[in-house]
């Protein structure tokens, strides 16, 4: 019954998008629009080495020659790429040495978001509570990274990618763009040209990262695109669990978020990447909201490596996102657990790709979609088996739940098997919320909304269980909030 109590508590807290506030932080912008000079401006601002600038400019050239993809089952007003700001940074002294030097307005933002940036606060918490190192990215720059020293003792590098480019240029150069090449797709090319910050993680061989690492993205400035780049390298035999959260203010306009996440897992390494995506989804009429066009890919380069993606997608007006695994190393494995909740006028086209190249590689996909209101949700996934990949195993399960008469839910799985020893299984179901169950729960004294939240939480349980503890709680609350007003 604990779950029921929790759900009731959650529902009691129901609010509309509660992260929709704006903060008045003094910021500096790059001029509006995109051209080679803006790319140079960003690179210079970051004090990047020459090769990085060239890399960016090459990406920009490629982007110019590419066309925006239209195959996803989403419709949106075209983005005017020349009308955006590509760089917005809170004004501050160069590199704050401690939290005291960070603009209190920004600290206030993260406080409101419930993100612990003060290490001592975390330490003073409940004994035994898990500690999380946070990299807080505010618009285009990382404002603070916590626990750096303690992590450094373990040999773990966790810092803004802009800093890593200065401090570990060779490491970054070796891996950047090796999983998601510059010309991979339209949004990845754009990101490669203009990304301004993001996190860089390196876990040395045999090290189990002593705490969860987390990045918290916040878009604050208006008419600004956020382009962050995350690069995680798990060296041989290492382990890391990484969390990502995101929010944005409520604005009438659509804002663009085009991120790239690259993960490299070497022999026996394991990476667990969890996302709770809660960008502003737009208002009840579908006005405003974030366009979330993200490329996330993991390269299981080493034998027996493992990467697990878990995502809870509740925000954004439009989502276009397919966290994928390239299973190159023999016996490597990939997992994808997803909850996509759409309400109002939201549209989500999300799924995964499992590319089996190595022998005895395994993958598992569990995707749960809940559509309500006038929203549309699509699961799109690919499982492919290379001719040389013997002994491949895949299991895929996609379940969709429809709430209301005006939403849509679609399942588009691709299987491409080119090896006789592969064993691939896929199953999908689409149903609506059961009237009987709703009636039963209401009969027991729950209101309609409480009953919906309870049933939906049950529906997505398989995936919630994969989330780290502190995220699971947040995600469960989100499920309820996202579906507010969806019934009756």
């Amino acid at each position: 019954m604990a779950a029921v109590k929790e759900t009731i508590d959650t529902v009691a807290e129901l609010e509309r998008y509660k992260y929709g506030f704006t903060s008045d932080v003094e910021q500096e912008f790059a001029p509006r629009g995109l051209n080679a000079d803006i790319v140079r401006f960003i690179s210079e601002k970051k004090g990047e080495p020459e090769w990085m600038l060239e890399w960016r400019l090459a990406a920009y050239e490629r982007w110019l020659a590419m066309e925006e993809p239209t195959w996803a089952a989403v419709h949106y007003e075209p983005v005017d790429y020349q009308d955006l700001f590509y760089y917005a940074a809170p004004k501050k002294k160069e590199g704050p040495k401690s939290l005291d030097e960070v603009d209190p307005e920004i600290l206030d933002v993260y406080k409101k978001l419930g993100i612990p940036l003060k290490e001592q606060e975390v330490l003073a918490g409940v004994q035994g509570a898990p500690r999380v190192a946070v990299d807080a990215v505010f618009d285009s720059v990382s404002v603070v990274t916590t626990f750096k020293e303690e992590l450094a003792k373990a040999g773990v590098i966790f810092m803004p990618i802009s800093e890593a480019l200065r401090e570990y240029p060779e490491l970054v150069r070796q891996y950047l763009g090796s999983v998601v090449p510059v010309s991979d797709n339209y949004f990845a090319a754009l990101n490669s040209a203009v990304f301004s910050d993001g996190s860089f993680v390196y876990i040395p061989p045999g090290v189990r990262c002593p705490m969860e690492l987390s990045t918290y993205f916040r878009i604050n400035a208006s008419q600004t695109g956020q382009f962050e780049r995350t690069l995680i390298i798990a060296d041989k035999g290492s382990y890391v669990s990484y969390l990502e959260g995101c929010t944005a203010p409520m604005r009438d306009e659509n804002q663009l978020h085009a991120a790239v996440v690259e993960i490299v897992a070497l022999d026996d390494a394991e990476v667990k990447y969890s996302t709770v995506q809660n960008w502003y989804p737009g208002d009840a009429e579908g006005k405003g909201g974030i366009y979330n066009f993200v490329t996330k890919r993991a390269d299981c380069r080493g034998d027996r490596s493992k990467v697990s993606w878990t995502q809870v997608e509740t925000g954004s007006a439009v989502t276009w996102k397919y966290p994928s695994c390239i299973l190159k190393g023999d016996d490597s494995s990939g997992e994808f657990y997803s909850i996509a909740i759409t309400n109002g006028h939201q549209q989500a086209d999300t799924g995964t790709k499992m590319i089996h190249l190595g022998k005895n590689t395994k993958s598992r996909i569990i995707a749960k979609a809940v559509s309500a209101g006038k929203s549309d949700s699509t699961y799109r996934g690919l499982v492919s088996v290379h001719p040389k990949a013997t002994g491949v195993r895949n299991f895929t399960q996609c379940d969709s739940l429809l709430i209301g008469k005006e939403c849509g839910s679609h399942t588009i799985p691709y299987i491409e098997a080119r090896n006789g020893s592969a064993q691939l299984e896929h199953e999908a179901t689409t149903t609506r919320l059961s009237d009987d169950q709703l009636f039963y729960a209401q009969q027991r004294g729950l209101s309609q909304e409480e009953a919906v939240a309870l049933l939906v939480n049950g529906f997505v349980r398989d995936v919630l269980q994969e989330l780290p503890m502190e995220f699971a709680v947040e995600a469960q609350k989100l499920v309820a909030i996202s579906l507010e007003g969806s019934v009756g």
Binding site: W71, P387, S400, L402, I403, G404, K405, E406, C407, G408, S409, H410, T411, I412, P413, Y414, I415, E416, A417, R418, N419, G420, S421, A422, Q423, L424, E425, H426, E427, A428, T429, T430, T431, R432
Partner: protein, 340 residues
């Protein structure tokens, strides 16, 4: 993405390629760069596999109608629809129209009988199933390994109509059998089965789109396939439930065996759903023959090759068993067994 392609064999610009999502796995343009020269005449020789079941016949020889091209069934009738190809390197197009009047019961026995080599055949069938009518369509496709063929069927099922189809394909250089079925009015029932058995470097593509436009329709689909040697089996099945088509019950299953190291299976089962009071599901599996069953049979003295053949037959025959008409089922069973 879901647009039908108006393929015109005389105009190469109408040939879809893998860049067109619906033809991703069957790149017609790659195999057919130019419009083929028109085929000459062909003679109708053998009586065709369904001859013994009697009934009327609509026959096309290299695209030319031998007699009528349209058929309207009333009462209980059997129609043998035969597409005969006997050409070398040339192309031909045939279009037939078949309708079952309200309350009629039609057994439609369709055969694609190919001889010669490297021909290109394009067949279209328009089939209307009126209210309360019942149509069972069984399709046997046998063509030379270097032929190219595209067959399209557009089926419209009215209120309370029943439409069942079973397609049995053996592949060709590129063989596409596409069926588009609309639940045009409420309470229609559709069964859209098929199987493919592919040897050598043959390619078969079973594509279907079932559109539920009105409420309380039911669709059941079972597709099974075996790809041997370097063959390639493709299944693309889409079930669309339009807004308002509540009470829809749709189930789709595709199960394929890859029987060699270098064979390939590509599958894309899609559910596109805009109504909430529905029950929809699909299952899709790809794998090899069960090693433990093979071992068991060998242990009991069945040679490996024979055991393999028996298990393959048992796997595929499930589709044949679902053919309701006994006569058609037995012909299909024999036809398939002879090709195992």
């Amino acid at each position: 993405m879901s647009a039908t392609f108006a393929i015109d064999l005389t105009d190469a610009s109408t040939f879809p390629s893998r860049r067109d999502e619906a033809w991703k796995y069957s790149d017609l343009k790659r195999y057919l760069r130019e419009a083929p020269a028109p085929s000459g005449t062909a003679t109708v020789g053998a009586p065709g596999p369904f001859y013994d079941l009697g009934g009327e016949a609509v026959v096309f020889a290299n695209g030319r109608a031998v007699g009528v091209t349209d058929f309207i069934a009333s009462g209980e009738q059997t129609l043998r629809l035969r597409y005969i190809s006997d050409a070398v390197g040339t192309g031909h197009t045939a279009s037939a129209r078949v309708a079952a009047r309200a309350g009629a019961k039609l057994l439609l026995l369709e055969t694609h009988e190919g001889a010669g080599s490297a021909y290109v055949a394009h067949n279209t069938l328009e089939l209307d199933v009126a209210a309360g009518a019942e149509v069972t369509r069984v399709v046997l496709v046998e063509e030379p390994e270097d032929a190219i063929s595209v067959s399209e069927a557009h089926v419209k099922v009215e209120a309370g109509g029943v439409y069942r189809q079973t397609v049995i394909a053996t592949g060709a250089r590129l063989q596409r059998i596409e069926t588009r079925i609309s639940h045009f009015a409420q309470g229609a029932q559709v069964q859209a089965d098929g199987l493919y058995l592919l040897n050598g470097s043959r390619h078969a593509d079973l594509t279907s789109v079932v559109r539920h436009m009105e409420h309380d329709g039911a669709t059941s689909q079972l597709i099974k396939g075996v790809a041997r040697d370097t063959a390639r089996g493709v299944f693309q099945g889409k079930i669309v439930v339009e807004r308002g088509a509540d009470g829809t019950d749709a189930r789709m299953g595709h199960h394929a065996l890859i029987a060699s190291e270098r064979a390939e299976i590509d599958a894309k089962p899609e559910l596109i759903i805009y109504a909430d009071d529905v029950q929809c599901a699909h299952g899709n599996t790809v794998g090899a023959l069960d090693e433990s069953a093979l071992f068991y049979m060998q242990q009991r003295g069945v040679p490996a090759e024979e055991a393999r053949a028996l298990l393959t037959q048992a796997f595929l025959i499930e589709v044949i068993d679902r053919i309701e008409h006994e006569g058609a089922r037995e012909v299909a069973r024999e036809w398939l067994t002879a090709r195992l």
